[in-house]
Symmetry: C2
Subunit: 435 residues, 2 copies
């Protein structure tokens, strides 16, 4: 008799140890849930607003490109691993026009297909099993998945409306030293503006303290990096822009890695992101990227080059901001309308970005195995359970939290979704009382 | 006094163990050499022919896309992790139109930014340190770098004008069993058509034997995959197409992973590649890809969708083939003219693809630390030392070999490059005699 392996045994035994570490990401379960309830209003999806996608701008940009035969031809060939040189220069000129002290040499820019791919490159290149990364609690859950995928430890630090609390960070650093793990601490991850999922923005004072703490750590303990994820920086609806971290101190270019993307501020389909890294890290990061894909798609890079220098980006951004501002307002209005009467429910009011962080009474479990989730999906609404967003060490996960996104819904969809969630909260709270 | 880490100590201590495994790829050194000698005729570069890039075709495709506002809008949004569904269906319809038995369900297709990114995904997802992959000697050196990067073992099998020798493969399999490593053998990697670097094509008979050997292995020892890299399949200048591996046996879909790309046959700047994987592997590969980049750029995928269904691809491919055929002929003519008189020098005549494999007398060291390399760069010509292309185990590396590419040079450049290399060979041979 033949000993034929079954399909199940094949798939189990053939994956790598690291594939096992990566598995079980919440995003997969959420997608499956969304597919199971097709009439769901999703306040979970990380997709961007369909209505304000830059269709006409891209048409004009592509026409411009067609009128530059040499550039078009070039865009169809491979670029270097770091990406199109002209674009890297144009990108730093444009991105740092208001922050001259932070402006890096274009040689320090590595282009990727979205900033997530750059985060993955950093995890791959810099982190060994047991290495430590500090992040806010809550923080970007996809990055937590990447850290798990390379076997790194993520330690969460208390955060509030103004982002990561610096006193709490200081205590966390002290604890790491006391535990003898100082050499394992590799990076502090922060989403400076309109954090995913917290919706908070690090104040100028906290940015300064963060830089000072890292400078001090480096003097006392050696290398430490900041991964400054600026994915939402351009999506500011209210108030003045705050300086990026390298603007704060001249030596920050030695230890701050900035990540940016046009996925949220222009188009995720074109998918151009970037990282700005210390000079000393450039060659080896490029070598690893070369080994993965020889560099990201050149055509997309040239489209974004023409988008920037034609002024199409600057003309289109206000359209996108207007769209998200209206939806943010719709969400805050609906929260006020439907949840202000609910005891123990409160939320942050973001000045930009795509997310509202909602906290429920402590006894309500918002996880996807809890009662609220069940009521919410039955009511036809989907959210991201906040519990996914807590690093496994440090601040304990709060199961009574929710990440809401107004990214993909219309104003009406946002309002309807909030209504349905508020109903679900009432149902879950009542059920709790009846227990 | 402050104990400030130097930039050098920073960069050394901060990279991961795996980054160390990935470092020292030959491609980086080759690029550095190319930059150091700007007037070099490069027969090394893996770039594609500039003259036949599909500029007009892409202009027309983009105009078509602009006239389909809904599709354009969709292309600017995120796709699913596997990629645009319509394109995946169109791709299998088109790619397997002559091979109905091999045609997979579109659900088994995962789109990537080039097939290299898919190879990397496979290495990441399927291979642990110490796992074994069998490949031809010589084989694609970038894949060898990926294997090193995950700590996998690569064992080389004798290859000739018809690709990997099946008797030699059989012996290699026996040796792996005898050494007790059968459970560590995960995959056999093959570039079926117009191999990089060998320029060889696996005959139908060898394809059949390969499938039979893997079927037998799976009965006796358990899971084993074939990574069938079809990157050059469409670049056939002479003769009839041979069936892809899944056409040979119905059960091959359970163990053959096919990789394809439009980088060589259309444009590497648009950069769309794909993998066709067994059903049982799809969910976890998607989960890992989702963790890396949420899927590859949607806009590029929609451009290739429109390129296929507008017929632009099929109209443009003959232009590309004509260009490469002329350059292949120019290279073979120049080899005949300048090297046929050189004792111990011979080369393969590829029926497609981008590469000619050149063997020199055994005493000539073509590595980048050897005399030939020195003469060649002084003469203004660059090649890929064949020694890079040998897996570290199995067939010993032959330092007296060279990979030549006619990809990026004009016919004239190809001829000039071959003349310069032949001069370098004479210089190196004479120096050898004078030792």
């Amino acid at each position: 008799m033949q000993n034929t392996p079954t399909s199940a045994s094949l798939s189990k035994s053939q994956f790598s140890y690291r594939a096992g570490l990566s598995s079980g990401q919440p995003i997969g379960r959420l997608m499956a849930q969304a597919l199971a309830y097709p009439n769901l209003v999703s306040l979970a999806a990380g997709f961007v607003d369909n209505a304000t996608l830059p269709c006409e701008a891209v048409e004009r940009v592509v026409t411009r490109l067609a009128n530059q035969p040499e550039l078009l031809r070039k865009s169809l060939q491979y670029a270097s691993t770091a990406g199109n040189d002209e674009f890297r220069r144009a990108l730093v000129d444009w991105n740092y026009r208001d922050w001259p002290d932070a402006k890096p040499n274009a040689e320090r820019v590595i282009l990727t297909a979205g900033s997530n791919q750059f985060l993955h490159l950093l995890a791959e290149a810099l982190l060994d099993p047991g290495d430590i990364v500090i992040a806010a609690s809550p923080t970007y859950f996809v990055f937590l998945g990447m850290l798990r995928g390379v076997g790194a430890r993520a330690i969460g630090v208390q955060a509030d409306d103004d982002g990561m609390c610096m006193d709490a960070l200081s205590e966390t650093l002290d604890r790491i030293v006391a535990s003898g793990d100082a050499k394992r601490l590799k990076a502090i991850y922060t989403v400076t503006d309109f954090d995913n999922p917290g919706g908070s923005t690090l104040t100028l004072q906290r940015r300064q303290r963060l830089i000072e703490m890292v400078q001090r750590w480096r003097r006392e303990h050696g290398p430490l990096l900041i991964f400054s994820d600026n994915a939402y920086q351009l999506l500011r609806f209210d108030g003045e822009a705050l300086p990026p971290l390298p603007e704060i101190s001249a030596d920050a270019q030695d230890f701050v890695i900035e990540l940016g993307t046009f996925s949220k501020s222009f188009s995720p389909g074109i998918r151009v992101g970037w990282g700005v890294v210390p000079d000393s890290l450039v060659p080896q990061l490029l070598e690893i990227k070369s080994n993965i894909d020889f560099g990201s798609p050149h055509f997309s890079q040239v489209i974004m080059l023409e988008t920037l220098r034609s002024g199409e980006f600057d003309r289109h951004l206000p359209v996108i901001l207007e769209g998200y501002r209206a939806k943010r307002n719709a969400m805050l209005d609906a929260l006020e309308r439907h949840m202000s009467g609910l005891p123990g429910v409160h939320w942050r009011e973001p000045k930009g970005g795509l997310y509202v962080w909602l906290t429920l009474p402590e006894h309500i479990d918002a996880s996807d195995t809890g009662l609220l989730w069940q009521h919410a999906t039955q009511n036809g609404v989907l959210y991201v359970p906040g519990g996914y967003c807590f690093p496994p060490e440090g601040v304990p996960a709060q199961a009574n939290t929710i990440r809401l996104s107004y990214g993909v819904q219309s104003c009406q969809g946002v309002s309807e979704g909030i209504l349905r969630i508020s109903d679900a909260i009432r149902q879950a709270a009542n059920a709790g009382i009846g227990d």
